[in-house]
């Protein structure tokens, strides 16, 4: 077998004690939180929420395609719809409520200025199929964003269109494949080297593009084993994929040697830019010899995420890979801006395109708003504060919890293992669930896979010292409770959340992927 669950994550739910509340509520509500049914299970059937006049038309052009059955959606008035979604949102966590310390996710505040800019009509009320002469402002914004991204990374070109980090990885590896094809080396270069601590998307992307993945070992101090890398590089390797700072929250101090060895072997250096927030304004990946790197605008550049999108993962490319960038891209002709779309335009070596249009316009606006409001000095301070905050957390918790790599400072995230929980019968999962009871979203757990029972905390620069102290206070109380043998607090947690501990096994074995009309109901379908 190739992979096992080696990090000690329990997959069997604990036998939960019965509802611990002495007085469970009569309605299912809790405090001022309403018990809310699914929208399909509510009262919206057989009525219309909004009274619209019947349009006066001369018949329909749809012919036989006109729908004759009910559409199968409940009808809700504005207050009903509003309350439904606000009630659901109250059951969840958001960066607007408190620290969201998910490591490797860079859950930072989404400035409201970004939102205001994105709603300007010139950016929000336009369509990709409009004549380019009517969207010159939007194209100029994309050109300016490209300038910021290439300047911050020290790379000559950028493909804006990828719509997520993993999509950016796909873009980068497709550019690398195109470059090897152009050199006639594609058939011989079939391997991609990936360190064991990588994000899971790295090997997945390499496999998706058709490469076989070879793991590179890690040293005891949490970094790429350069000797192991060197022994695996050769004329059959297409690329390496390295995250820097890596997922252990550490800077790859041998990065120059890594890129030199890679280029000597004729391979390309793909850098996973998920952790760019730690070095933005301080280190230019181009100076490290990177050939391609995605930038998660939804992490480093504060565009919203956490609800599943919309992401944006522009990819910066080196001189060697720039000719293969996917269409479209913006050029300043001196006489206005033009979107280069097709081969006959100048894109004859482009490997193709990654999406129908230009990508996530709304995210471009938000990201540029963030960059321009911080300025280049402000962005440097973003990196400095993010690193300082993570080190503050590490320093304040390391007497009670066990840092995975105690020697030296960390970068933007503090990584602990579960060594300190040994003998307590409490797992990382239990600890995380108890954090929910204390009002905090858990950190990333059981990742990276190279650390047993990993707890990866990334505060970002968003958090003030007061907010960090609140978080640290709760963590210290919990850690002490764990050490004092208060096992029940952890095993049954969360006690106070809208939902108790979920049965992940049952959810995975019999997932319910769509709503099924209850037997005997008169709901329209």
């Amino acid at each position: 077998m190739s992979t096992m669950n080696t990090v000690g994550r329990p997959t069997t739910p604990n036998t939960l004690p019965d509802n611990d509340y002495k007085h469970p509520t009569l309605t299912g509500g809790r405090g001022l939180l309403q018990d809310e049914a699914l929208i399909f299970e509510g009262e919206g059937w057989g009525k219309t929420g909004v009274d619209l006049p019947t349009p006066k038309t001369d018949g329909s052009d749809l012919g036989d395609l006109v729908r004759r059955d009910p559409i199968g959606l409940p009808g809700l008035s504005e207050p009903e719809a509003m309350r439904h979604y606000v009630r659901l949102s109250q059951k969840n966590h958001a960066i607007d409520l408190a620290i969201y310390p998910l490591g490797s996710c860079t859950m930072k505040h989404n400035p409201r200025l970004n939102e205001k800019m994105a709603r300007l009509a010139g950016f929000s009320d336009i369509h990709p199929l409009q004549p380019q002469s009517t969207v010159q402002g939007a194209l100029e914004l994309m050109d300016t964003l490209s300038h910021w991204l290439t300047t911050l990374t020290g790379m000559p070109a950028v493909a804006l269109s990828p719509k997520a980090g993993a999509h950016g990885e796909l873009c980068g590896l497709m550019a690398i494949r195109a470059a090897h094809e152009a050199k006639g080396e594609h058939e011989q270069r079939r391997k991609v080297l990936v360190p064991t601590s990588a994000h899971g998307t790295n090997p997945a992307t390499a496999a998706f593009v058709g490469y076989s993945v070879v793991e590179v070992a890690q040293t005891d101090d949490g970094r790429v084993d350069v000797a192991d890398l060197a022994s695996k590089l050769g004329p059959d390797v297409a690329a390496i994929m390295v995250t820097n700072p890596n997922t252990c929250g550490l800077f790859e101090r041998d990065i120059m040697e890594i890129s030199r060895l890679t280029h000597e072997a004729g391979a390309y250096f793909y850098c996973d830019g998920a952790n760019f927030n730690a070095i933005v304004g301080r280190v230019r990946p181009g100076d490290l010899g990177v050939d391609a790197m995605h930038i998660n605008l939804h992490k480093t550049f504060s565009t919203p995420h956490g609800g599943g999108g919309p992401g944006a993962g522009p990819v910066v490319l080196s001189e060697a890979l720039a000719p293969f960038a996917p269409a479209p891209w913006v050029v300043n002709t001196g006489d206005g801006y033009k979107l280069v779309e097709r081969e006959e335009d100048e894109a004859e070596q482009a490997f193709g395109r990654l999406c129908a249009f230009q990508g996530q316009m709304g995210m471009y606006v938000r990201a540029l708003s963030y960059m321009m409001s911080h300025g280049s000095d402000g962005l440097r301070q973003v990196a400095e504060d993010a690193v300082l905050n993570a080190n503050y957390i590490k320093a304040r918790l390391e007497d009670l919890m066990s840092p995975a790599f105690p020697d030296g400072p960390c970068m933007h995230e503090a990584l602990f293992d579960d060594e300190w929980l040994k003998g307590t019968d409490i797992t990382t999962l239990d600890f995380a669930k108890a954090m929910i009871d204390e009002g905090f979203h858990p950190m990333t757990m059981y990742f990276p896979l190279v650390v047993h029972g990993a707890m990866l905390i990334e505060p970002t620069e968003t958090e003030s010292k007061a907010e960090l102290d609140r978080f640290i206070h709760a963590m210290r109380l919990l850690a002490q409770a764990a050490k004092d043998g208060d096992v029940e607090r952890f095993k049954g947690a969360p006690f106070h959340a809208p939902m108790r501990r979920l049965d992940e096994t049952r959810a995975a074995r019999s997932p319910k992927l769509r709503w099924v009309k209850p037997e005997g109901s008169n709901h329209a379908a």
């Binding site: 077998m1 190739s2 992979t3 096992m4 669950n5 080696t6 994550r9 329990p10 997959t11 069997t12 059981y446 992940e504 096994t505 995975a508 074995r509």
Partner: protein, 121 residues
């Protein structure tokens, strides 16, 4: 019953090898939620990935411990993947493979050797 260092087991009856994953593997994976067994009639070389097993938090390829043709797959695992946890070295078998050469099993570990190997992990 013989074991591989990748935690598969083989049990030979005539020229039919029944294969599955070891109790140690099932325990380490945690609750198994999905098993993809190989198609009957497909042939695999020793070391090929011939099945997939997923738990809540880990997905793993299972390597063929012997070369040969799949003559039967344990299709009951599709609806009852928990069988792998309940009886990994019994009812939780993955497939029966017809092998041409019984000497393939020579390099594998017996139970005592496998237990000794596990103690080194």
């Amino acid at each position: 019953m013989k074991f591989t260092t990748d935690h598969e087991w083989v049990s030979l009856d005539g020229d039919i090898a029944t294969v599955g994953i070891s109790a140690h593997a099932a325990e380490a994976l945690g609750d198994v939620v999905f098993v993809e067994t190989p198609q009957v009639g497909k042939t695999f070389a020793k070391g090929d990935s011939f099945a997939v097993v997923e738990s809540v938090k880990a997905a793993s390829d299972v390597y063929a411990p012997v070369s040969g043709e799949v003559v039967e797959a344990n299709e009951a695992l599709a609806d009852a993947p928990e069988t792998v946890n309940a009886s990994p070295e019994g009812e939780g078998w993955f497939a029966k493979i017809k092998i041409s050469d019984a000497s393939q099993l020579d390099g594998l570990m017996d139970k005592a050797a496998y237990d000794a190997f596990l103690a080194t992990l």
